[in-house]
Amino acid sequence: MSLDPRVNRLKLGDPNAVIKVEEGENWNVYEVFHQEKRGAHHEHVGCVHAPDPQMALIFAKEQFARRKKCVNLWVVKSADILAFDVEDEDMFANNLEKTYRDASGFKVMEKINKFKQSSKGTTDVK
C-alpha cells in the first residue's frame, strides 16, 4: 500500500472497482526544512510520512535533527508546494548575450581585493 495519498493505485482483477482513498487511510508526505541557527534560512533536508503536521514535526525532529545542530524545523505538506513542470525548464534558459543579468558577472570581489591590496599598509582603519 502506498503511503502517498496523491497517488491512486490500480487494483488489478476487478475492472469495475472504484478506487477511493478514505480520509486518514493514507499518510501524507511532508517536506522538512532545517534551521541550523537562529536567524539562518530554513533549508530543505528531506521528507517524512505522517498523518498530520504535528506528527510530521515530531518525526522530523528525530529524523533530521538528532545529529546535526538544529534550532528549529518547518514541515510543509508536499502537496501544498506549487512547482513548474519539468518540461518548462527552457523558460529558465538565459540568452548568451544577457550574461550581465547573471549576478556572478559582477566582479565585485575582484575590485574589493584590489582596493584592499592597494590600501594595505598605507591606511590603518581604526
Partner: protein
C-alpha cells in the same frame, strides 16, 4: 543516612530508565513505520543515557559501585525498578500507552528535582529537560492520534490504559523510612506528591483523547519492585541485557 536515602531513590530511577530503555529498544527495526521506528529507538537510547548519568552520580558522589558493574552485575532482587517497565512489549498500543504514562511520570519527577537540595540531581534535571519535553510531546501526540483513528484504534488504546494504569501507579510506591528523610532534606517532594502531580498531567491529555481514566480507588497499584520483588519478566531481560557484558566484565570498550 541521607546519602543512603539518595542512593536508594536514584537507584530506583536509574533502574526504571535502564529497563524501560531496554524494553523500548526491542522495537528497533520492528516499529510501525520507519519514522516512528527511528524516533522510538532514539528515545530508548535517551532513557539508557539517563540511567547511565544516574549510575555515574551514585558512583562518583555517593561512593557507589562502578556504573557499568552496578547496572549489569547485580542479582535480580537488588534491582529496584517498578513492575511497569518489566512487562514485555505485547503490542504497539501497550508500548505507546506505557511510554505515555511512564514518561509523564519521569518528567514530573525530574521537574520536581530542578529545586533539589542535592546538587548533582538538580544539574541532571536541567540537562534532561529538553529531551523529556520531546518524549512527552511524542507520547501525547500518539495517544491523541490513535484515540481518534477509528473504533478499533480507540478501543485498543482504552484497553491498554485499563491494563496499564495499576502498573503505572506502582511507579509511585512509597519509599518507607528513606522517603521522609528525602522530603525533610528537600531532595524531592515525595512519591505521594509526585503521584498527584502526575495525575494532573495525564488527565487533560486523556480527556482530549476521550479516554476514560479508570477509577483510581478501584485499582491496586503494582508495588514490590522497589523492594526487589519482581515479575517473572525481569530475570530473562537481565540475562539478555547483560549477556555480552558478562562475557568479560573487565573488558575495555
Amino acid at each position: 543516612m541521607l546519602n543512603n536515602a539518595i542512593t536508594d531513590l536514584m537507584t530506583k530511577m536509574a533502574d526504571d530508565e535502564l529497563i524501560q530503555g531496554h524494553r523500548n529498544s526491542e522495537w528497533t527495526g520492528l516499529g510501525p513505520v520507519m519514522e516512528e521506528d527511528i524516533a522510538f529507538s532514539s528515545m530508548a537510547q535517551d532513557k539508557i543515557g539517563h540511567s547511565w548519568a544516574l549510575y555515574r552520580i551514585i558512583e562518583e558522589n555517593l561512593g557507589g559501585r562502578q556504573a557499568d558493574l552496578f547496572a549489569f552485575c547485580r542479582p535480580e532482587n537488588e534491582y529496584k525498578c517498578c513492575h511497569l517497565v518489566e512487562y514485555p512489549n505485547s503490542g504497539y498500543d501497550f508500548s505507546l500507552m506505557r511510554h505515555f504514562l511512564f514518561d509523564q511520570a519521569e518528567a514530573v519527577r525530574y521537574e520536581s528535582m530542578l529545586e533539589s537540595s542535592f546538587e548533582p540531581l538538580q544539574q541532571l534535571s536541567r540537562k534532561v529537560k529538553g529531551e523529556l519535553k520531546y518524549h512527552t510531546l511524542h507520547a501525547n501526540a500518539w495517544v491523541m492520534q490513535l484515540s481518534k483513528a477509528g473504533e478499533e484504534s480507540y478501543d485498543r488504546m482504552q484497553t491498554a490504559l485499563n491494563e496499564i494504569i495499576a502498573l503505572a501507579a506502582g511507579i509511585f510506591e512509597p519509599g518507607k523510612a528513606h522517603e521522609q528523610v528525602l522530603i525533610d532534606a528537600k531532595v524531592y517532594p515525595g512519591e505521594k506528591e509526585l503521584y498527584n502531580r502526575w495525575l494532573d498531567r495525564i488527565y487533560p491529555v486523556l480527556v482530549k483523547a476521550s479516554l476514560n481514566l479508570p477509577a483510581l480507588e478501584s485499582i491496586t497499584p503494582a508495588y514490590g519492585g522497589r523492594n526487589g520483588q519482581h515479575t517473572p519478566y525481569l530475570a530473562p531481560l537481565l540475562k539478555e541485557m547483560g549477556e555480552v557484558f558478562n562475557l568479560d566484565t573487565a573488558a575495555n570498550w
